[in-house]
Symmetry: C2
Subunit: 234 residues, 2 copies
């Protein structure tokens, strides 16, 4: 069947996100360096984030609370009080950071919008995601905007029902195999993986042991050509 | 026109929410009592929450971060480190607190569901709201579930468009005049106000200076009778 509808992930697919987390983690490592060597702060933070995920969900506010907990615990309460205010300020910086589109995104979305129905499908904090979508200037290119708490096969199934789209005519595009590709392959749609330079530890999967088929691209601007090939009309 | 569709708010309309914030604020006041007298902690916290609202949005995680900031600032950094971990633990308790339905809600929703299309329309943290909706056992009674970042006339207008509902056949029910009643009256629908014992400072409006018409009830279970009267078929 012909591809009619594209789902596009947002963070690290349309605009930079993980790079801001990386900068903050770097600062966090420096702050905790009197108590934890090198990579240890990042490891402890990821562990804490994972433990908190089922209570906090995704997003910068939960990340900030996890940093505070890790700092108190790792320093055994010896971290200076103003360091905790710095951590909160880093969280606020991340939440108010200007949206920076990835190369070629704006033009490519214009091209794609002429031929396909576009859905924006992202996960995380509702308020922050809405702010970024509004600020990106891309909102009106999308027929539907879906902010999910988790990107599971079931959640994708519901999005396709809402938009009256058959899985066979749907292609999802994103930087995370775990969230953007594998669950859509699972429901009979196609996935396009466009890696971003950095991937959050929680999103990592071991590619060597996957049994699935997906399309891999280097850059967002290669999407129109891939879709033309998929639709066999080049 | 006949009322066909009801929008129901969730927090403090279907289940308890503000009472959990009140318990936490009480503990917070005690924790800060060496530095701030009586009501002053609550006042400073509300001030901080309001200032943070445009960055954090609504919800428990932002509330928790605002408590930490207020505690550090009000004590001039003298609050003990383990008190900050307590604050985070209170936030986690609130996020994992069991859902307690308000009296008569389950039965009344069953009655209403036989006669009207039901939409659940809530605002706040996506992840926490979804968890509560799932846990409430009420999710399948609703044709549509809408979690909004803000309850403005525009957002209500979009909800009604998505559900193909004319404002004249829509009634919104909730505990906040500011969020559940005034914006729907603004777009030509009707609002039902059912106050909850406690109202968050940010939601308060001065009733004496309002020019609007709405229905006021004491209890959720009075809804079916009111709607029957509105539809003139009693």
């Amino acid at each position: 069947m012909t591809v009619s509808t594209l789902g596009l992930d947002a963070d690290d697919t349309l605009w930079h996100s993980e790079s801001h987390f990386a900068v903050t983690e770097q600062r966090f490592g420096e702050l905790l360096s009197p108590w934890l060597p090198g990579e240890e702060a990042a490891r402890r933070l990821l562990e804490r984030e994972r433990a908190n995920l089922r209570i906090f969900g995704y997003g910068v506010k939960g990340f900030t609370l996890s940093m505070i907990e890790t700092a108190i615990e790792a320093s055994d309460g010896a971290v200076p009080m103003d360091a905790l205010q710095h951590i909160i300020d880093w969280g606020k910086e991340m939440l108010s950071h200007p949206v920076e589109l990835l190369p070629g995104v704006a033009e490519t979305i214009d091209t794609l919008g002429d031929q396909y129905r576009l859905l924006l499908i992202t996960k995380g904090d509702l308020f922050h995601q809405e702010s970024k979508i509004a600020e990106s200037g891309l909102a009106d290119r999308f027929e539907q905007i879906e902010i999910l708490s988790e990107k599971s096969p079931d959640q994708y199934r519901r999005v396709l029902e809402r938009s009256r789209t058959a899985p066979s005519e749907f292609v999802m595009v994103g930087n995370s195999l775990r969230s953007d590709v594998l669950p859509v392959v699972d429901i009979g749609a196609q996935g396009v993986h466009i890696p971003y330079g950095i991937l959050w530890g929680h999103e990592q999967v071991d590619c060597d042991h996957l049994e699935a088929t997906w399309h891999q691209l280097d850059e967002f601007s290669q999407l129109p050509d891939l879709l033309t090939r998929l639709n066999g009309s080049d």
